[in-house]
Symmetry: C2
Subunit: 357 residues, 2 copies
């Protein structure tokens, strides 16, 4: 049993939300056209300040640190997590400047976990570019990750809110727990859907939840709004990771994302694999046992795996579950007034599920 | 140029301290008999509470985390850093309980860096036992390090002092900088003594300094006492690391410490090597260039290296410099009243330089 201590906060349990008051996913725009543009537009000036602060705070007299950190920070990430902090703060009517440093702290935590993930997974590509560990080696990548994590805390301490520090230090511990849990499920073909959900909720959704919640905290809004934004971020994060796991089999162009098939090659027990395994016949189960369980992979195996997850509807079902969580994210925003910011956050949730990269 | 931003705090610069008022290293006990026993005795109950809290806070529903963390935490470490926090707090007359959680946080930060160090150095032994990465692999060791680092911050946040958080988050960033800087000097036979000192001050002495300073902070003592304890910890930390680097060539029994010759095998540019290199003839410089610079090592090389550092007096000089910093650590305590606690901290500084393991 994993993460039992926070089961009451689990998004997977389904909260009752008044359907009548819930904003709908549609029909503001067609789903396929959803993007982060509206949100980017509304928080443009804040996001530029975040980017400047990130560059400023990754400096160090040890020149390898800004070189390596600059590579990953400039690596074309979507800045989705800091955008959530900025957007949530504005949605709560916040007019101050604290959200900028906290959004930068959120991005530093995320960047540190990316650096460590790539070391752990021995990945050589991320978003179509060489990873830091591929360029500089595992050791600097690991240690610069530590540096950025410490810098994130320095930024939060400078902000001075113990409440924010509590949210983000707790999230950081849960992320690490999720990463270790994921290691334990890797190549374990007996992994349950419950365990898979616990992993992605911890390793991915926790930071989305914390990033969003912090927006309400700086705005000093009531607990109800904090919790609504936390629920928004958590469900959005689950949807985001489900889509990531689907795209590992389906991304149309490798240069838009990480390498296709990375998760498969690493033996990760993602939902598409879990579903295809459960629905496969004996021969297919042997295939998954060899390729994922024993990591004995041969030419053509990724293609066969892709065929199997498609044939069993595992990708479509993963996508449909992602939409379910995105819908829950959208519903969590019901308590906030209508307006451009709420619309932009809704569109971000749709984008998370409909993106092709 | 590295760490120039904190040059004014550098212990290497030598503060003027009135000799008349300075406590002397001797003659309380003979140097060879110096131990941590007196300090342990005085803070026994506190240290037991720290150990209980460490075990309590490394728990996680992901069972691999307490298993792996328990292995390294129970690995027979001296608990020197948390002892400094406890001892410093008591020296400042502190009667509350906050120092216990902060001492545990200090030990978690230290443990996280040990786990990451052993991954970076691919070490298989620490204090005579298998390392976590040797037993469980690099991935869990790296990720459990992240978990413990996050837990350290959770402990500090629960304590609630922004000042403590500032000291320890800054120290954490500087430690990571020092580790990256050390990577850059590894196998670089042009490394200067200044660069070496910057590395050990950052990677080791910074946490000793922060751990000691925190004792004065919880006791709410004037800045003068904070700074004195910081200076005590910083100089003690430098002495401690100098002795560590000396013992890599001289430890009498491998089962008391890490493997003898680890630093040499990894190409670390420690002071004994720097000194022997500077004093060696052309043939010896070629030897260091091959073994440390190119990491081309053959049977008998460690023995030859040990002979060279002995012959050139490099180990004795390293030891004598360690004693110089230990003396500065002792002098920093001059502003505190005489008594058992001050005596115990003085003896800890002597122990750091006279220990054989």
């Amino acid at each position: 049993m994993v993460r039992g201590d926070s089961g009451d906060r689990s998004a997977a349990k389904g909260e009752e939300i008044g359907v009548a008051s819930a904003p709908h996913l549609e029909p503001m725009r067609e789903r396929e056209k959803a993007s982060l543009d509206l949100l980017s537009e509304l928080i443009r000036a804040d996001l530029e300040r975040v980017n400047r602060l990130i560059v400023e705070r990754m400096q160090s007299p040890v020149s390898l640190i800004p070189q390596l950190a600059g590579h990953i920070v400039a690596g074309g990430g979507k800045r989705l997590r800091p955008m959530l902090t900025l957007g949530a703060a504005r949605l709560c009517g916040y007019c101050g400047g604290r959200h900028v440093a906290l959004a930068a702290a959120v991005e530093f935590i995320h960047t540190a976990t990316l650096l460590h993930d790539d070391v752990v997974d021995a990945s050589d590509k991320r978003r179509g570019r060489d990873t830091a560990n591929a360029l500089w080696g595992d050791k600097p990548a690991l240690l610069v990750g530590d540096f950025l994590f410490a810098r994130a805390f320095e930024l939060m301490v400078a902000d001075g809110s113990l409440k924010v520090l509590q949210i983000l230090s707790r999230a950081s511990a849960i992320i690490a727990e999720g990463e270790v849990h994921q290691l334990l499920t890797t190549s374990d073909t007996a992994t349950t859907q419950e365990a898979y959900l616990a992993v992605i909720e911890a390793k991915t959704a926790e930071l989305f939840a914390a990033a969003s919640r912090v927006g309400a905290v700086v705005a000093e809004r009531p607990l109800e709004e904090e919790e609504a934004l936390e629920r928004f971020g958590r469900n959005l994060g689950i949807a985001f990771q489900l889509v990531d796991d689907m795209l590992d089999f389906r991304a149309e162009r490798a240069d838009l994302g990480k390498n296709i098939g990375d998760d498969f090659r690493e033996g990760k027990m993602t939902l598409p694999v879990l579903l295809a395994l459960a629905r496969g016949d004996e021969e297919e189960r042997a295939f998954w046992g060899r390729t994922i369980g024993e990591l004995d992979q041969r030419p053509g195996d990724l293609e066969r795996a892709t065929l199997l997850v498609e044939r069993h509807g595992a990708l479509d079902e993963t996508h449909s579950r992602a939409r379910f969580y995105a819908q829950k994210a959208v519903e969590a925003l019901a308590i906030f007034p209508e307006g451009a910011l709420r619309e932009a956050l809704i569109e971000a949730a749709i984008f998370a599920t409909e993106r092709g990269f």
